[in-house]
């Protein structure tokens, strides 16, 4: 398996990663693999680098192809029920799920709609500096499909 990949850098210390590479030049990295605790910390750190927890999808994969796609963020009790939450994280997690189910064209369609809506900038939730509600933002994405 390793022979199939053309470029792999094996091993970098955690501290070196943090102080030199991730915060200064994250574009250097592609895939990072690490044990549980470090993964928890680094995944949140990287979420901070790209714009926050409102945007970060994830997928937990187990033996036998079982997969659980979820957003990285938690239940956010302070904004619950107020139509303010950014649905991007969970939607992108759903895209990951579609890819896992090999429904690539549908996955691409939804992903492009999301990315275009955010890039346009007209509809953004509060965590991205905008004023849209969850429903408005979702409607904008549906319009982009």
């Amino acid at each position: 398996m390793i022979q199939k990949c053309t470029r792999i850098k094996l091993g970098t210390t955690l501290t070196s990663l943090l102080n030199k590479q991730l915060v200064k030049n994250p574009a250097l990295f592609d895939v990072l693999v690490m044990p549980n605790l470090y993964g928890d910390i680094i995944s949140d750190l990287c979420a901070g680098l790209i714009g926050g927890l409102g945007l970060t999808p994830s997928c937990n994969i187990g033996e036998g192809g079982i997969a659980l796609a979820e957003a990285v963020h938690g239940s956010a009790p302070d904004i619950a029920g107020k139509n303010l939450a950014n649905p991007t994280a969970l939607m992108l997690s759903a895209v990951t799920m579609l890819r896992h189910l090999e429904l690539h064209d549908k996955a691409d369609q939804i992903q492009n709609a999301i990315l275009n809506t955010i890039a346009e900038g007209k509809y953004r939730t509060a965590d991205l500096g905008g004023t849209s509600t969850t429903t408005d933002f979702t409607k904008a994405i549906c319009d982009h499909l």
């Binding site: 091993g11 955690l14 102080n19 030199k20 928890d40 910390i41």
Partner: protein, 372 residues
């Protein structure tokens, strides 16, 4: 008398009108304290050059101390990371001098050898590791309001060194947290905040998962916080903490952490404030202090930088300024710090990690030239 005084007066008048760096307050005398008679006699400091870039940067400090005629002299000991233990004569020297300055000692990854850096800290019970992460004038980074001090527990936690293989392929690693160590690090953090007019102390933890271990750490911090009602105390989970550090670092002031998280938080904070090449710090216990590069102190740099002699001496120079204050030579400390900050802000002599091309010696020469 008037004729002899003229050149001196000319010089003084000339200086006070020349103030290229108003932010640095050059040209104004800082308030000094009243020394006791005999305070000027030279103090011995144990010096451990170390491995890799260590000798290069400790050499830089030696040169600058010489140029300033600072009342310190160094007792040098050669230790290398591949030795099994720290030689007893070095420990004795540090016992005698109470203060040590060192470069990094290389630590083999994996294997069965304990890091000598860690050994030294445990042997001398240097239970607090302090890293000062703040922006330097003239060195812009993505975030410009970083002023964080990380106080990290230095003796236990995940670095207790207790690991064993239960059966082949299964290893257990013990993380030890004690009330004793957690309390004393919390006390040190709050005391530091109090003595340095800092407003907030934030405890970093993962007590939602490690309920007992990090829970004990948090309890100890809360207890100590009660004794400092004028200092704001808050808690943050380590993963959220790292995320906040890279997006809004200005919210943090003093941070107190157990061992491993401290390593990560200090390195991240150092990275966002300008890099580990410029952050000062050290390790302190009840009786001794070791000053070294603030974050990533065990890092010996890579071969190429050591050979080309391009290591950044700023971190160790600023740490040695902290050391001078610790030894109660505040005027020398101020002069050294001002010179280093002037060189950095001018931007002409910077090593590769700061975006320049200078060698270590060029930076040292610039600092010596900038000393007043």
């Amino acid at each position: 008398m008037a004729r002899r005084a003229l050149p001196i007066v000319k010089q003084l008048v000339g200086r006070s009108s020349f103030d290229p760096h108003p932010l640095l307050g050059l040209g104004s005398r800082s308030v000094t304290y009243m020394p006791r008679p005999g305070d000027g006699s030279p103090r011995a400091v144990t010096l451990i050059p170390g491995d890799g870039i260590g000798p290069l940067v400790t050499g830089a400090v030696e040169q600058v101390m010489e140029a300033m005629h600072a009342p310190v002299y160094f007792e040098k000991y050669e230790i290398h990371g591949d030795m099994k233990t720290v030689p007893p004569e070095v420990i004795e020297s540090i016992h005698k001098n109470k203060v040590c300055l060192k470069g990094g000692l290389s630590t083999p990854v994996g294997g069965g050898v304990n890091s000598l850096n860690v050994q030294l800290r445990k042997e001398l019970d240097l239970y607090a590791s302090l890293v000062n992460c703040c922006n330097l004038p003239g060195l812009p980074t993505r975030h410009n309001d970083v002023d964080i001090v990380v106080v990290r527990e230095n003796t236990e936690g995940e670095y207790a060194g207790l690991e064993h293989e239960v059966v082949p392929g299964v290893v257990e690693s013990l993380k030890v947290i004690t009330k004793f160590c957690s309390e004393r690090i919390a006390k040190y953090a709050f005391e530091y905040a109090y003595l340095n007019n800092r407003k907030k102390v934030t405890a970093v933890h993962k007590a939602n998962i490690m309920k007992l271990a990090d829970g004990l750490f948090l309890e100890s911090c809360r207890e100590v916080a009660k004794n400092y009602p004028s200092i704001a105390y808050s808690e943050i989970i380590v993963d959220n903490c790292c995320m906040q550090l890279v997006s809004k670092p200005e919210q943090f002031d003093v941070m107190v952490t157990p061992n491993l998280y401290g390593n990560l938080v200090a390195n991240t904070a150092a990275g966002i404030a300008g890099g580990t090449g410029v952050m000062p710090g050290g390790n302190v216990g009840a009786d001794h202090a070791i000053f070294e590069q603030g974050a990533s102190a065990g890092n010996v740099g890579n071969e190429k930088i050591a050979q080309q002699k391009k290591a950044n001496p700023v971190a160790l120079l600023l740490s040695s300024a902290m050391m001078l204050r610790h030894l109660q030579f505040p005027s020398f400390a101020d002069r050294l710090e001002t010179a280093v900050k002037t060189v950095i802000s001018e931007g002409k002599y910077r090593t590769k990690d700061l975006g320049g091309t200078s060698t270590t010696q060029e930076v040292v020469d610039a600092v010596i030239a900038a000393l007043d």
